[in-house]
Structures are given as structure tokens and as C-alpha cells.
Symmetry: C2
């Protein structure tokens, strides 16, 4: 068994190297690649990802995994070895169903589609992106069909980012959440003028913004000797192992807060990746457990901590020092402005309360798209109609509508709901953390984040992909994922701000 | 035959993708990778380069190449197809002799060694680099031994960068060149005070330097929509295909000229790579023919053009505009300062006259190292002793001595002589260009470089790796490589400057 495990690790190490190399190429494409590079980059990524797939679904891997799985009961469930066998077998049995040609074609289409999306977004012209998106949807349908039978063709897409989650399960949670969310949005709308966020707007030097964002991210625990921060059209985090975890951000000259909160969000992802166990290196398990667990970390740092009074009691004097504009703005006015809730067009800039409705829109729209009830050509129109229905706004341009997110261009379909599941979990984590660390609020007020990181590292980070979201929820909180703490948190926080 | 050719192209395309992906990872390591990334990067590069090697030396490739080679006489020698078969077979018969494990170990050692070299150079501590260099020499000896029998173990290393060139051939050229070079250096030394280059020194903003370098590189023909310029410890050019050819440079706050000439040098390399025929994409032939041919391009732009009066008649007013320091310096004083010749420590900053002796030192030292007459541990001492012998200088630190070049850390041994062969060829090209384009000097004076680029593209660039240096020399000049034009050029130019 020991020998077979070593053989398996050698084979998986090669797959991990190819995937990590592809991630470097992706990062480069998003940050520094000149426009002339796009054609060849698509070929390179297609070859790397095609080979990674080919090597992973190799019969030798399958045989080793099945042989080793027969001995799983001899190993501790939590051990690196048992987890490697268990999770790799789950991945294997999924991937083996997808032909290599299809993987390569999705990869190629993603590289070209991302470039097309970027141009379409810049020129506010959906038609430039439409053929690539049509192609991608067609390919993802073919991909999903590899997993027949299913209740809903959307299920395999969802499962890819959140193992075991189905449309039925997620729509059940969202159905519980939607009415109280809509109610809260409505109540806040009636007190719209209670918060003025125009006080945040001024001119802020971009270099100074970057320097401030770096300092905050470092203080939260993002180790910049094992990471870096660059600029890209859509902020993201990527990692090539725990020693090289990079984030990107975008900065707005007229709004320091928007870029800063984006940086904190990505730093939350990066802190997670930097703290997986080194023993998981090159196994394919040395990354976040799932998208929702990942989002629970990024949104914990961005919202639960990053938009709280204790956090800003520490950082606001520093912000005032770095950007004299704030010297004349008192703390409470800043705190309220930072948490202004108002229906808006751009998901990544949406406040905590309205955010969920952006997600539910995408979730329902993807379900309709894959079930043939909406066509790609109709997306801009349907998007706008639903925005009006859910948030009372019609995007004046597609750039602020259907073209705002990079995800679909990269084939990341079925990914959006995890943002909301992650938000829900982030609040449940905060509840648990306060129980186990009574002084945590005072630590945040003192700008001390080491114990928080240690808690998250111990409970979540170090395990990498060993456990699923339901397993993690049970291990950390002793029960299942619960949406009620999330709604309570929103109601309390925004009730106080808006005097509801 | 057509079908076999298609099969071959498909197999070679995958190899090209892997090599191009590895080049992206290399670029990233030299420019933006955080220090924590090094360990995993070594694994990634080793896997990619190992796979590229494995796929290239695959029996299927060998069989196809041998089958196709039997029909070579049915094809035009110059055609893409004939060249692909001919050059790939040459590469194949070399690479098939080297075990994959050795390729992977060299790749790993290169990634780790480059990082160690960087640290050693920064801390001026050879001992930090020594174990990596010892390992690399040991690996390169094992590599060279795969090519037995040979007259000199250094020959396979030389051949790797300059196909068909041997120690005997190169040392014959260098033997002809050395006495007149030494004589010229000596004659100039006696008039040392005739040129004052302290007039070039002042404080120059680095952003302004970068902007000026970009503008000059673009005007020479470097297309920045298919390239970019970054900063690295040791300037280099890399390409992932003709649509993405990147250069790096290093800038000195007290010396705008040094960084600028480095940028022009790398732009010369990049222009070559950007102008290979698009029909050679993914064949492995879409890059420069050899290191010497590459250097002939970079040194043509840097020295033959870039340090000439006609070039600066156009650019000097622009330099004066960008850097007011030069407003009080007259044209002749600038031209003379730019071409000051004086023994110095750093190869990449050496003037045209002394440059050759830096190369001859490295060439002889590598030959001694691989023939066991000098050990790695002794390198700093031997380096310093020979610097004193050839150029009359003893480096005060190893950073300015044996640690100055990145090449050995990357396993680029046998590469240095090509710099001098390239310089020799660059002057032969200039002689030919003047014959065929009588108005070329006036074009340079007018800042027009399109016809020069068109000439080089037609004669050299577009062919990629189709032809060897001797073939190219014969095609372009009608004869063999000749060292005499190079010595004549140096004697005339520097005779005039120094009044010899």
C-alpha cells in the first residue's frame, strides 16, 4: 500500500505541476501579457490543461486509486493519505467522464473568450463577446451531459465548484433567504437618505491607494514574501503553491474604499491559500476546499471584519493619515457611508444587503440558460429586465449589466451561488469564533489579527481540500449550514444603521 | 508524405507549447515572482521541460523524421517543410542522446541556481552560489558526455548554441582577433584622457528613462503591442511566439546611457523574434537561428547603429529634450563619451573594443573548467587573475567579477563565444547592407528604420531557425564569416575618436 501511495503521489505531482504552470499563464494573461500574445496563449493553456487532464484520468491513476480505496478503513479519515485517496477518487470519477478533446476545447475557448470579453466590456459591445459565450455554453452543455443522469443539467456545473450541492438544495436555501432579504432591502430603501456616502468621494492617488491596501492586507496576515498585488480588469486570487499566492485589484481614482475593500476580499482568499498544510504540496489538495468555503474566507475579511466598527477603530486614523480628505470626516459618518446599502448595478461593488439579490439573479439566469429557457443572444435584455424586477434598476450599458463579470468568459458557470453560500457561512463562522475567542472584538480594535488567522488556519485553512462544505460546517460549528445567523447579522447591523 | 508531415507538426506543436509555457514561467521568475515561489517554480519548470524533451525524443517523432528525411530531395531546401524536417532531425538526433532524468535535473538546478546566483550577487558572496554551480558543471559534464566521441568535451556545449561550431574553429577565429584587439586596446590606453565620459553622469528619473527607451525601441521597429519591457537583474529577451516577445532592462539612476543601450540591445533580439515567418508557428523553428546570429542582430542595433553619429544626429536632440542635463553638452563630446573605450569590469557595460577580451576570457575559462584544469571553487581567483592579465584590472568584489553574469546559473555554458561571433557578423552585415542600400546612412540620420528592418527581415528574420550561421553568412554576403571587417571597423572608428 505504501508503494502504491508513492506511485500515486508521483503521478499526481506531475498533474499538479501542469495545473500550477497553467495558473501562472492565466495570471500573466490577466496582468502583463501584451495583446499580441492571446492566440498562442490559448494554444499553450489548451496543451497544459489537456495534458493535466490526460495524466489525471490515466488508467494507472484509476487503478491505483481503486486499489488504495479498498484499504481506506485502515487509515484515519483526517490523515493526508486517506484524504488524498478519498478526494482524488472523487475527482477522478468525475474527470474520467469528460473526453480530453472537450477539456482542451473549453480551455482554448476560455483563453480566447476572456480576451473577447475584455474587449467587449471596454467597448460596451456585447456582440463582440456573444459568439464566444455561445460557444462556451454549447461546450459546457456537452460537458454537463457527460454526467447523465441528473435531475437538472445545471447540477453537474454546480457540483464542480461545490461538491455534492444541487440546484434543488441551493434553491431551497435561496428560497428561504429571498423574502427576508427583499423585505430588508425595501425597508432600507424607505430610509435611503439616512446615509450619505458621497463623503467618501475625492481624488486619491493610485500609488498611495496601492500602498495602503498592501499595508492592510499584510496586517491581516497576507504574507507578501509569498505573494504580490497587481492590477487587473477583474480582481482575482491565484496560487501556484502556498509559497506563491497572488492577488489582483482594481483602483478607482475617485474612490479609495472600493479598491481597498476589493484588496481585502482577495487577501482573504490568499490568506486561505497561504495557510494550507505544506504536507499537501503537489497532491492537488493544497488549495481551498470549495468556492463557497473560499468565499466564506474572503467575505469574512471583507465584510464581517472589514466593514465593522472595531476594524475601523484601528484603521480609520491610519486612513486619515494616508488620505487627508478623511480628516474632516468623523468616524460615525465614515462607518455609515462605508455600509451604505442601496440597489446598484455592479455585483462586486454591491453592499452586503443587496449582494444576495445579484447572486440570486445570476443563479436563476444560469439555470434558465442551461435549461434552454433563455438564449445567449437574449441575455442582455433578460439581464436588464430582471435587474429591474429584483433591484429596481436598469443598467444603462451592458458594461454595467451582463458584461460586468469575467466568469462566463472563462467557463465558470455554476460558480456564482457559492458567493452567497460563502457569505452565509462567513457569518456562522464569526458566531462560532466569538464563542471560542471571547476577546476577539478587542483584538480587532487593537489591529491584532494573528489569533483570528490561527483559529481559521487550525479549523479550515490547513486542511486544504480534505473536507467538503457540509463536513467543514459540522466540524467547526457542530451542525449544518444555517442561513438564520446571516439574516440576523444583516438585520441587526443595518437595523442599527438605518434606524429600522 | 503529406499525412506524415501533418502528424509530425501535431507532435511538434505540443512540444512548442510546453517550451513556450516554460519560457513564460522563466520570464515570471525573473521579473515578478515573489521569493516564496522558487521551490515550486523549480518543480514546474522541471516537469514542463522534462515533458517537452520526452515528447520530442519520442520514437514516433524519430520514425516520422527518418521517413520524411528519405524524401527530402523532393522538396525545395528553403521551404518550410524541408527545413522543418532537416532542422528537427538535427535537433532530434542530439536530444535523443540525453536521458530525460538529466534534462529534468538540469532544469531544476537551473531554477534553484538562478535564485542562489541572485542572492549571491546581491550579497557579494560566491560561496552561496558555489554548490549550485558545482552541481550544474557536474550535470553539464554528464550532458556533454552523452555526445562522445568528441575532440573536446567543450564541443557539445558550443554546438548547442551554434550548430556545427567547435572549440578548434572558434579558437582559430579568436586567435586571429586577439593580437590586433590587444594592440588596439593598448594604443587607446595610451590616449586614455582623449575622451571624457564623466559628462554623461547626472541624476536621471527612472520613469523618464523607461519612457525614452520604449520610444527608441519602438522607433527601431520593436512592436509593443506584441511585446513589453520590464526590469530584471540581468537584461534578457524571451518569446512565447512572434506575437509575444518581451525584453527586460536594468536602469541606473546616475547613467541614462547604460540602460538605454541595454534596451536597444534587447530590442535588437526582440525585433528578430517578432519577424520570423508566421508560417513557422508551433514548429520549433519560429525563433532565431542561433545565438551568434541573434547577437549579430542585437549588437547591430546596439553598436553598429546605436553608437554611430548618424543615429545620434536624429536622437540626440530628443535625448536633450527628455533630459535637460544634455542641453549644455555638445554633440561631439556626447558621441565621444558614448564611445569611450577603457578596460572595465562588467561585460555588459564594456565598450566595443574591450568587449572581445571579456568574451575570450570566458571562452578560455569555460574550456578549462570543463577540461578539469580549473575547479569551481577556484573560479573567483582565476577570474580575477585573468582579468588582470587581459584588461589590467582586478575586480574588487566577486559581484563585479565572476558573479556578474546569469548564464552559468542557468546552465548556459558554451554560450559566451557567440557574443563575439555575433559582433563579428554584425559588421559584415553592415558592410553588405551599405552595398545594397546606398541611402541607408541618410535614413538613419532621418530616424527612419523601416527599410533596415525590411532588409533584415527578408535576409535573416523570416527564416527563423531554417539555416545555420555559415549558411546565412553565405546567403547574405556570398562568402564565409570574416573577422577582418570587424577589426577594420573598430580600427577606423576608434582611430578617429582617439586620433591614432
Amino acid at each position: 500500500m505504501k508503494e502504491k501511495l508513492e506511485q500515486l503521489k508521483t503521478l499526481l505531482a506531475r498533474v499538479a505541476d501542469l495545473e500550477n504552470a497553467a495558473a501562472v499563464l492565466d495570471w500573466d494573461q490577466e496582468t502583463y501579457m501584451p495583446e499580441g500574445g492571446v492566440q498562442a496563449r490559448a494554444d499553450q493553456l489548451s496543451t497544459l490543461q489537456g495534458l493535466a487532464h490526460e495524466y489525471f484520468v490515466d488508467e494507472e491513476v484509476g487503478t491505483l486509486l481503486h486499489d488504495l480505496a479498498a484499504h481506506l478503513d485502515e487509515l484515519d479519515y483526517d490523515s493526508d493519505e486517506a484524504s488524498l485517496i478519498r478526494v482524488s477518487l472523487r475527482d477522478y470519477e468525475k474527470q474520467v467522464k469528460v473526453p480530453g478533446d472537450l477539456v482542451r476545447e473549453i480551455s482554448r475557448t476560455s483563453a480566447l473568450g476572456t480576451q473577447a470579453w475584455r474587449e467587449a466590456r471596454e467597448k460596451d459591445d456585447f456582440s463582440l463577446f456573444q459568439p464566444y459565450l455561445e460557444k462556451m455554453v454549447e461546450l459546457k452543455i456537452r460537458w454537463a451531459e457527460c454526467f447523465k443522469p441528473y435531475d437538472n443539467i445545471y447540477d453537474p456545473l454546480l457540483d464542480d465548484f461545490e461538491p455534492g450541492m444541487t440546484y434543488e438544495q441551493i434553491s431551497a436555501v435561496f428560497a428561504e433567504l429571498k423574502p427576508p432579504l427583499v423585505e430588508l432591502v425595501r425597508a432600507i430603501s424607505q430610509k435611503r437618505d439616512a446615509v450619505d456616502d458621497s463623503v467618501l468621494k475625492a481624488h486619491f492617488d493610485k500609488d498611495a491607494q496601492m500602498a495602503f491596501g498592501r499595508a492592510v492586507a499584510e496586517q491581516l496576515g497576507y504574507d507578501l514574501t509569498r505573494g504580490r498585488i497587481d492590477i487587473s480588469a477583474h480582481p482575482f486570487t491565484t496560487n501556484f503553491w502556498r509559497g506563491d499566492v497572488r492577488i489582483t485589484t482594481r483602483l478607482d481614482e475617485n474612490d479609495v474604499v472600493s479598491g481597498l475593500m476589493g484588496t481585502i476580499h482577495e487577501a482573504g482568499h490568499a490568506i486561505y491559500e497561504q495557510n494550507t498544510s505544506p504536507t499537501l504540496y503537489r497532491t492537488g489538495l493544497d488549495r481551498g476546499a470549495s468556492m463557497a468555503v473560499h468565499e466564506s474566507q474572503s467575505r469574512f475579511y471583507e465584510n464581517v471584519i472589514g466593514r465593522s466598527r472595531p476594524f475601523w477603530r484601528h484603521f480609520y486614523p491610519r486612513l486619515q493619515e494616508a488620505f487627508p480628505h478623511f480628516k474632516s470626516l468623523d468616524f460615525e459618518a465614515f462607518y455609515r457611508a462605508l455600509n451604505k446599502s442601496e440597489p446598484s448595478l455592479i455585483r462586486v461593488e454591491a453592499d452586503e444587503v443587496t449582494y444576495g439579490l445579484h447572486i440570486i439573479l445570476r443563479f436563476e439566469l444560469e439555470n434558465d440558460l442551461f435549461n434552454g429557457r433563455v438564449s445567449v443572444a437574449d441575455l442582455p435584455e433578460v439581464w436588464n429586465a430582471r435587474m429591474e424586477e429584483y433591484l429596481g434598476l436598469v443598467p444603462p450599458t451592458d458594461r454595467e449589466g451582463v458584461l460586468q463579470d469575467i466568469h462566463w468568459s472563462q467557463g465558470l458557470m455554476g460558480y456564482f451561488p457559492d458567493y452567497l453560500l460563502g457569505s452565509v457561512f462567513s457569518v456562522q463562522l464569526w458566531e462560532q469564533m466569538q464563542k471560542e475567542m471571547p476577546g476577539v472584538v478587542e483584538q480587532i480594535e487593537a489591529g491584532q489579527f494573528e489569533d483570528i488567522l490561527a483559529w481559521l488556519r487550525e479549523k479550515i485553512h490547513r486542511h486544504g481540500r480534505k473536507f467538503t462544505l457540509p463536513e467543514i460546517t459540522a466540524r467547526v460549528t457542530g451542525g449544518p449550514l444555517r442561513w438564520e445567523p446571516y439574516m440576523d447579522y444583516l438585520r441587526t447591523k443595518y437595523g442599527e444603521i438605518y434606524g429600522l
